[in-house]
Amino acid sequence: MSVVDQEISDLARLSRLNLTPEEEEELGEDLNEILEFAEKINEVDTEGIEPTYHALPVNNVFREDEVRPSPSPKPALENSADSVDGYFVVPRVIEE
């Protein structure tokens, strides 16, 4: 399998990365090379094998439903790129 040009720009959009045409080209080459390397996994027969998502078999870790006072949002708001009246500000998202 390989990543074609179209897919590179789709992937960049899906990843929210603005890429220059040069970057797209370079990344395309790199990704194809890396994917070739990644495909070594196909050398292993995994018929009937379950995936391992967690290295250790631990289950059922919970916290109790207790409220812990939230810190003041002020420092976080001041730390952000843009805020007003207690809100974080972003470019308008149209939703109509």
């Binding site: 603005n18 292993v44 094998i49 391992t52 730390n79």
Partner: protein, 486 residues
């Protein structure tokens, strides 16, 4: 003379501090002086707080109740959060970022009395094996400044090797503690997955990341591991198991010990000199009474591929939150919401991070998930089984830590696949969640350190420290700082 204080082990420093042979101020001054003399050359720190550290040294009471690290200067990898201090992951996207909380492991060393002198450099978001991808410049190997210190915890390893601090914390996702420790001639330990809380460690790949120590001796690694280990209710994946006193219980017993030697870790791609040195280490253990057996880890070659699929998939998701909305800088010019995200991220991330985000996005995307991510997780099951089968035949596994000694700066940074092969001997243990320690055992003909790796079953920390200590005693390498010139 004063600066040689930093060549002592944590234990020795602790004794001298308590016997009032030295003061914390002298110790921190020694650290500052080494930093000033050497770090221009190696760039192992992204931030160093001389004034504040001295202030703390003046205030600290080194009596035992104040913890085993009272008055001792340590460094943190730049991906470990400390409330109020810049924590940037070596990235522009977190420039000036000051988290309001402290990582659980960092809290533990602070409570043990350590004076954190600064943050060590790293590959951006821990993605690299050479510490050449940091937004704050590359780090050099103290043994040969034309070479890389390894990565991604290269700053931590170099700072310890250079004697700026006696120990540092790093993180290991596919070898990011062990590989730079090996290249830099110091000890590095990756605990069992879940042994140390990940809370406050800025994630690269959540199912693989573990925090661990980089030290000059095995005993020091045991001491730091003991301090940072334990259950943390803030990390669901941290193990609820008692933490033994590793350091006080080091007791090397080579009798009745079976050491597995996996052929796959000595084969093609492994430098001959490295192989010879590590096989000698095995022979040294045998001479003490250990039995050597051949074991097979047949999926080793594919493990590194599975590792890169899984790690980048998780990373693409973990790094999606850096979008310029809540923290970090925001691009100045953009057209709309999507463009704001995309431009902020384009400006904030370096090339290797972009590469891995794209790869991770690809292997999870619809139509490819099963062939890559799903498949890799199944391969992971077989890797785990390989280790389980091996541990039926042996107590621990001895291997080289890296295929080669430290390579030249710039020699691999443009060749991702060749760079990724650096982790071929370390990443399988992350996939299986196992503990592994690396220690330098000898120097090669270039005078560069060569390291051996010991891999044990889940939660076999104590045994690894025991046998690594024995190997440290047996091997020609003496724990020391690199001979840097001022």
């Amino acid at each position: 003379m004063e600066t040689e204080l930093l060549d002592l082990s944590l234990n020795e420093l602790q004794n001298k501090l308590q016997n009032s042979e030295i003061s914390p101020v002298e110790l921190v001054e020694a650290s500052i002086s080494r930093y000033q003399n050497f770090d221009k050359e190696i760039n192992s720190f992204v931030s160093f707080n001389s004034k504040e550290s001295l202030q703390k040294a003046r205030e600290v009471d080194v009596s035992r109740e104040n913890g085993p690290l009272a008055g001792i200067p340590l460094a943190l990898k730049d991906n470990l959060c400390r409330a109020g201090y810049a924590t940037t992951c070596g990235s522009n996207i977190l420039e000036g970022h000051r988290p309001p909380y402290t990582a659980t492991a960092v809290k533990a060393i602070e409570e043990a009395g350590a004076i954190i002198v600064g943050n060590a450099n790293m590959d951006e978001f821990a993605m690299g094996s050479s510490t050449e991808t940091s937004a704050y410049g590359l780090t050099r190997n103290p043994w040969d400044t034309e070479r890389v210190p390894g990565g991604s915890s290269g700053g931590s390893a170099a700072a310890v090797a250079a004697g700026i601090v006696p120990a540092a914390l790093g993180s290991d996702t596919g070898g990011s503690i062990r590989q730079p420790a090996a290249f830099s001639g110091v000890v590095g330990f990756k605990p069992t997955y879940g042994r140390v809380s990940r809370y406050g460690l800025i994630a690269f790949a959540s199912s693989l990341d573990q925090i661990g120590p980089i030290t000059r001796t095995v005993e020091d690694a045991a001491l730091l591991t003991e301090i940072i280990s334990g259950h943390d209710p803030a990390d669901s994946t941290s193990l609820d198991q008692p933490v033994p006193e590793y350091h006080g219980n080091i007791n090397p017993k080579p009798e009745n010990l079976t050491v597995g030697i996996p052929a796959e870790y000595f084969g093609e791609g492994v430098d001959e000199e490295v192989e010879t040195i590590v096989r000698q280490a095995a022979s040294d253990l045998k001479a003490e009474g250990a039995e050597l057996v051949d074991v097979s880890l047949s999926t080793t070659e594919q493990a590194i591929s599975a590792y890169y699929v899984i790690a980048t998939a998780e990373a693409s998701s973990n790094l999606a939150r850096f979008d310029g909305v809540r923290y970090g800088p925001r691009a100045q010019e953009f057209e709309d919401m999507i463009d704001m995200y995309s431009q902020t991220r384009a400006e904030g991330f370096g090339a290797e991070v972009k590469r891995r985000i794209m790869l991770g996005t690809f292997v999870l995307s619809s139509g490819y998930y099963e062939a890559y991510y799903g498949k890799a997780q199944k391969v992971r099951t077989l890797i785990k089984r390989d280790f389980e089968n091996a541990f039926e035949k042996c107590d621990l596994i001895l291997t080289p830590t890296t295929p080669t000694a430290a390579f030249k700066l710039g020699s691999r940074v443009d060749d991702p696949v060749q760079m990724y092969m650096n982790d071929v001997l370390t990443a399988p243990t992350n996939l299986a969640g196992l503990p592994a320690i690396t220690l330098p055992v000898d120097a090669n003909s270039d005078g560069l350190p060569v390291a051996a790796q010991l891999i044990g079953p889940s939660l076999s920390e104590q045994m690894l420290f025991d046998i690594a200590y024995l190997l440290q005693e047996l091997s020609p390498w003496e724990p020391c700082s690199a001979p840097l010139k001022e």
